[in-house]
């Protein structure tokens, strides 16, 4: 009996602190309260990469950088923006898998304690990132789909061999969690375009995103790492990270409707 009790104590004592070290373990409390990073505010795209595919509508047939398959090329080669306009589908290149590549601004706010809202001025899209359980009934498919969010905390208790010199074995890890990542998984999408010139993703695509902050002098940068998994049209995962810079206010917020051509 005593042995069993000691075993239980030893097991709990051993496992609990280590569980606390895991990155990805969110602390108890409403997601808004326990947020390890503050993503709210206005953010502007820094278009320093992929400029020729983002700032202008690239030429038909310009697919460089996208791990597309033959089926994807067939669809993209048939791209006709007039058809999209006629079908009322001008927002095909503003869906969640592509929206972070669209030059513009994000306005991120808390809609409630467990829902982060991302609005875009380019294309006037709204994304709702829902923490906690996924609704049992799926709504109709949409450009922005359904997004499940979770905080991933930093792991303050690194093993001794990975600790910097200034943190000795007898120095406890920081009491408060510093920093972290927002992970978002989006499904239930309508089929759309990864690139304005018709490079497609299918309705079965799954978008995984990670939101990270970097402080640089007086600036705060947001990097959104996007992973699009779409066996219908992609040979491998589409992996791109987009940088944004925080702005003091919404003075430059410029709502612009979707365009199939520009």
């Amino acid at each position: 009996m005593r042995a069993r009790t000691l075993f239980a104590i030893a097991l709990v004592a051993a496992v609990v602190p280590l569980q606390a070290q895991r990155a990805g373990g969110p602390p108890a409390g409403p997601p808004r309260t326990v947020a390890p990073i503050d993503l709210t505010g206005y953010w502007v795209s820094i278009v320093s990469m992929d400029w020729r595919w983002r700032m202008v509508t690239p030429a038909k047939g310009d697919y460089a950088g996208v791990p597309m398959n033959a089926a994807s090329k067939t669809v993209a080669d048939a791209w006709d923006p007039a058809k999209d306009e006629a079908a009322g589908e001008q927002c095909k290149s503003y869906g969640a898998p592509a929206i972070m590549s669209v030059p513009g601004r994000l306005h991120i706010t808390w809609q409630d304690d467990s829902t982060l809202k991302i609005e875009t001025d380019a294309g006037q899209q709204t994304r709702l990132l829902q923490f906690g359980p996924v609704p049992p009934v799926k709504p109709p498919r949409s450009w922005q789909g359904m997004s499940a969010a979770q905080w991933q905390m930093s792991a303050p208790g690194l093993p001794l061999m990975l600790r910097p010199q200034e943190r000795a074995a007898d120095v406890p890890p920081p009491a408060a969690v510093r920093g972290g990542t927002l992970k978002v998984t989006t499904t239930n999408l309508r089929d759309g375009y990864l690139r304005k010139n018709g490079v497609p993703y299918s309705a079965e695509a799954v978008l995984t995103e990670y939101y990270d902050l970097t402080k640089q002098g007086n600036d705060t940068l947001l990097t959104v790492t996007t992973i699009v998994d779409d066996p219908t049209y992609l040979r491998t995962r589409r992996l791109i990270a987009y940088p944004f810079k925080k702005e003091a206010n919404g003075d430059k917020w410029d709502p612009t409707p979707c365009s199939a051509r520009w």
Binding site: S45, M55, P103, M153, M161, Q165, G179, R235, A241
Partner: protein, 327 residues
């Protein structure tokens, strides 16, 4: 009793493994290159780079033949090359041999790029007057889930392949953030000499088991062009207003010259409004267009395989680009 404690310890170690895996950057990482960071098809292409007037003038004076001068042959490989080069990453945790504490992360070299030591032991930065090297001096700190690296003391080098240059007064800051099986690198290059504002690039690396892709051959200058050997004072260049390739990007891709020449105003969304009336998209992409691989045994390939555009990725320059300057 002892067995029970051993079992508990085993359980705890099994539970600990993912925690280490979430934060440990060590290992081999394959570059994904699904962006245009390594793109270098047109000789004059400052698109997306917030150069200032001096940075633009420097870039327009560049003649690729100058790389054949022995003192310039390694300028393509500054630490910033991690963001736009073609190589994978190997990251090794270097521990103090006595205490086993982490002293540094070593990012091994590849090709002509030297290795980079990211010191984690809090050592001071060298004097501003200390010698500069191709790899520079780097320190690292953990900020939340990211390793933040600050690099100084590196030599003048490419900001993008053959496209623009950073000075020896530049500072490079980059974060490495692990997300499951990938690492996102966000780089910020700040240069008071050639940039109007910091230049930001990102790249993604995916966990790899392929340990064969790490050849290290330190950059060793050799004599390449006899004319430079015979006349060491000659530096191939273009005089102001004389770069013959300045309109190539506009002719091939319809992008207005003003945008081709970069600058801070060109990298923000407002600039699209200016472009709307001046950009003329070519009817069809004809060069470096990517697409799926050609079927086996089929006709000619489609070019890029989903990775970065093939042109300029280590291949020879197009005819005429390496020609000596007019005498």
């Amino acid at each position: 009793m002892r067995r029970l404690f051993s079992l508990a310890l085993l359980c705890s170690l099994a539970g600990a493994a993912p925690a280490v895996a979430q934060t440990d950057l060590s290992g081999w990482w394959a570059r994904q290159s699904q962006n245009d960071n390594g793109y270098a098809s047109e000789p004059v292409d400052l698109i997306g780079i917030p150069v200032n007037a001096d940075g633009r003038a420097k870039a327009l004076s560049y003649n690729i033949a100058s790389l054949s001068a022995t003192e310039r042959q390694c300028q393509m490989y500054p630490p910033w090359y991690i963001l736009y080069g073609p190589f994978p990453l190997q990251i090794i945790a270097e521990q103090d041999p006595v205490t086993q504490k982490l002293m540094a992360y070593r990012i091994t070299g590849w090709g002509d790029r030297g290795e980079q030591m990211v010191w984690m032991d809090g050592r001071p930065r060298p004097s501003p007057n200390a010698p500069h090297t191709h790899g520079g001096f780097s320190t690292g700190t953990w900020e939340g889930t990211s390793l933040k690296v600050v690099t100084t003391h590196f030599k003048m080098g490419d900001m993008k392949r053959h496209r623009a240059f950073s000075s020896d007064r530049a500072t490079m800051t980059y974060t490495l953030t692990r997300h499951d099986d990938i690492i996102t690198v966000t780089g910020i290059l700040d240069d008071p000499v050639y940039l109007a504002e910091p230049f930001v690039l990102t790249e993604i690396f995916q966990r790899s088991n392929d340990t064969n892709g790490f050849p290290l051959t330190p950059c060793e200058p050799i004599e390449e062009l006899p004319m430079l050997h015979e006349n060491p004072a000659l530096v191939p260049h273009y005089l102001p207003g004389k770069n013959p390739f300045i309109n190539e990007m506009t002719q091939k891709r319809g992008i207005p010259l003003e945008a081709v020449l970069g600058g801070p105003e060109t990298i923000y969304p407002e600039y699209r409004k200016k472009l709307k009336d001046t950009y003329k998209a070519p009817a069809k992409c004809v060069d470096s267009c990517g697409g799926p691989p050609a079927p086996r045994g089929g006709g000619p390939g489609q070019g890029g395989q989903g990775a970065a555009p093939p042109a300029g990725r280590g291949g020879p320059p197009p005819a005429g680009r390496g020609a000596p300057p007019p005498q």
